[in-house]
């Protein structure tokens, strides 16, 4: 009897070997992937050192290669995207969970998911041909009007701008924020909600004072995941931001992000430029990997996994 069990266990060795082997193989691919970026960036890091991060001018082809404007534009567009997408996304998640009638609920979720299925190049095209005229005619003059043309809404209104990139990004990260925050809000215990209602709180008070605070860890995670997406989005941003690496003087300035610069300049790059672009890729990898790792810790904690 014992003999048989041992026999079947040993003869299943190929199966376990196959599973472990595949996992190991893909682990090796990931290592190679990280190594390819580090390896290509290394000459630039050795030559330019810290100036790669702190340098204020970026001129492809000849140098200098200072990524500070790109980093600032990346953070700025992401911040604009979050300012728009977080309130709208949280409100949509609450509406989906508590307000939309049961029979419309799955159709509504599907619509939000369709928003995520649209390829980013299509959002870029849409931003180029629909949002730019709208910005030029309506939004930019309006924003400049209410601030009297002062910062941050000063300067020429060309349409192509960090503001436009932020708006396009906000639409692209909305499905992420809605889907994840819906998941983490849906695990808020029913007792808490009913407790709030029985104490006489109105429905909106329960949402703002009970539901949102108890889902706060997971919501932070959802926001961080959205931020991670916005930081790394490439093509749509490259199409609408104006590809002009400068430190923005207003939200109407053109700009260039880390990812969009890699996309637009990689084709003509050689030597130092290629290596400097790989250094941008490395910065992008470090930033997005840490944001995503943090986000996962938060959302997993919120959903009770270890």
């Amino acid at each position: 009897m014992a003999e048989r069990i041992r026999l079947s266990a040993t003869s299943d060795r190929p199966y376990r070997f196959l599973l472990r082997g595949t996992a190991l193989f893909f682990g090796a691919v990931i290592v190679l992937f990280v190594w390819s970026v580090v390896h290509t960036a290394w000459p630039a890091i050795q030559t330019f050192g810290i100036h790669l991060i702190t340098g204020k001018t970026w001129v492809p082809g000849t140098g200098p290669y200072g990524a500070l404007p790109l980093i600032i534009d990346t953070l700025l567009t992401t911040a604009i995207a979050l300012v728009i997408a977080v309130p709208v996304g949280l409100a949509s998640a609450l509406a989906l969970l508590f307000l939309i009638p049961q029979r419309l609920r799955s159709a509504s979720s599907t619509l939000i998911e369709l928003l995520a299925a649209v390829p980013s190049v299509v959002y870029g095209l849409w931003g180029l041909w629909f949002l730019i005229p709208w910005l030029n005619k309506t939004l930019d003059p309006f924003l400049a009007g209410i601030t009297g043309g002062r910062w941050p809404f000063n300067g020429a209104q060309e349409g192509f701008s960090v503001l436009l990139a932020g708006i396009v990004l906000s639409i692209m990260i909305l499905p992420t924020i809605v889907a994840i925050s819906r998941d983490v809000i849906s695990v808020v215990p029913k007792d808490l909600i009913e407790g709030g209602l029985s104490l006489g709180a109105t429905r909106s008070q329960v949402l703002t004072h009970v539901v949102l605070p108890s889902a706060r860890t997971g919501i932070l995670g959802a926001i961080a995941l959205g931020a991670g997406r916005a930081l790394g989005e490439t093509i749509a941003v490259a199409m609408v931001i104006g590809s002009n690496p400068q430190i923005p003087h207003s939200l109407f300035s053109t700009g260039a992000t880390l990812a969009s610069t890699i996309a637009t300049e990689f084709g003509e790059a050689s030597g130092n430029t290629g290596s400097a672009l790989a250094a941008l890729a490395l910065m992008l990898m470090i930033i997005t990997a840490s944001v995503n790792a943090g986000a996962r810790v938060l959302t997993n904690r919120a959903q009770g996994h270890v």
Binding site: S92, I100, V122, L174, F266, A281
Partner: protein, 308 residues
């Protein structure tokens, strides 16, 4: 004796309760209105969130449908010239390229990803946990980084842009998504089924093949189709590595054309005819992506219905 109640000192708790009740009654109306307004705002935000989707779909149809003809879908592109600025030909080879890239990348990624999903679902170990974390982080990394990877390891050694480099980038992009989705599907199989198989004397490999995999199939298919849809629309990684092509050819060792890349290139073209055609290319791409992602739901829903 009956009067004693009147001589009792006023009860502070009762008084406070009455005061609160009076105030609550007074503010009830205001609170109800404020609450209603807030709830209406939430639904309004949800509707606002759907406006861009509507606008994108409207734009695709309004500007894209007119360029789509039978010839547009099956002929080769044609460089516009000064005398024939409107003759841009078709996108046949870009459709072919998109299907070849996505299909071959899927062929590479699916078996690897399913085995990793099985490994993650079946193994309890530190290394499995670590791999799971790394794969989760991979799903959030910008896809353009995979373009840099494929450039370094395929384009540089081959000394030419190629469809193969695109396939490498897209398959590494797909593996984490499919692995994650299939791990969830495999974990969703009731452990009673698994244990029943083992108790009948089946080896773990037989249980995986005969019980876990069939039971998890709807979830696996959904994950696979969604990842194929996502990879099909990716522009950034292939922009760096597949080059461009104006001819037919499914051989991935050569340069290739593809719909997302063509949309990107046409959108910035100097020719108005190409800029207009960008919408037709984008519409074709969106239809193909939507067929996959809507199809994934239908397949999964049908399979769940058929097998209770």
């Amino acid at each position: 004796m009956t009067d004693t109640l009147n001589f009792l000192p006023p009860d502070p708790i009762l008084e406070r309760r009455e005061k609160i009740q009076r105030r609550a009654a007074k503010t009830l109306r205001r609170r109800t209105i404020a609450s209603r307004a807030f709830l209406v705002m939430l639904v309004g935000a949800f509707v606002l969130a759907l406006v861009p989707l509507g606008s994108v779909i409207f734009a695709l149809i309004e500007k894209g449908v007119s360029s789509i003809t039978w010839n547009f879908l099956r002929t080769l592109p044609h460089q516009p010239s000064l005398i024939a600025q409107n003759d841009i030909g078709g996108i046949g080879n870009a459709i072919e390229g998109t299907l070849v890239l996505d299909g071959l990348a899927g062929l590479v990624a699916i078996p690897i990803a399913l085995l990793i999903g099985l490994y993650l679902a079946e193994t309890l170990s530190r290394s499995a946990d670590f791999l799971r974390r790394v794969i989760e982080i991979m799903t959030g990394l910008p896809s353009i980084l995979l373009g840099v990877f494929a450039y370094e390891y395929v384009v540089v050694p081959m000394k030419t842009f190629s469809g193969l480099a695109g396939i490498v980038a897209l398959s590494v992009l797909m593996v984490p998504f499919i692995a994650k989705a299939s791990e969830l599907a495999f974990r969703g199989v009731p452990s009673s089924l698994r244990e029943a198989g083992l108790a009948l004397g089946a080896r773990p490999s037989r249980v995986a093949r005969g019980i876990i995999f069939p039971a998890a199939l709807p979830g696996v298919i959904t994950g696979v189709l969604l990842s194929l849809a996502r990879a099909m629309g990716e522009t950034a990684p292939i922009l760096l590595v597949i080059g461009a092509s104006g001819t037919w050819g499914w051989n991935p060792l050569h340069q290739m054309s593809s719909l997302p890349l063509l949309t990107y290139n046409y959108s910035g073209s100097q020719y108005p005819s190409e800029r207009a055609a960008a919408w037709g290319v984008a519409l074709t791409l969106v239809v193909m992506v939507m067929v996959l992602s809507v199809g994934s739901r239908l397949v999964a829903a049908r399979m769940r219905r058929e097998r209770p």
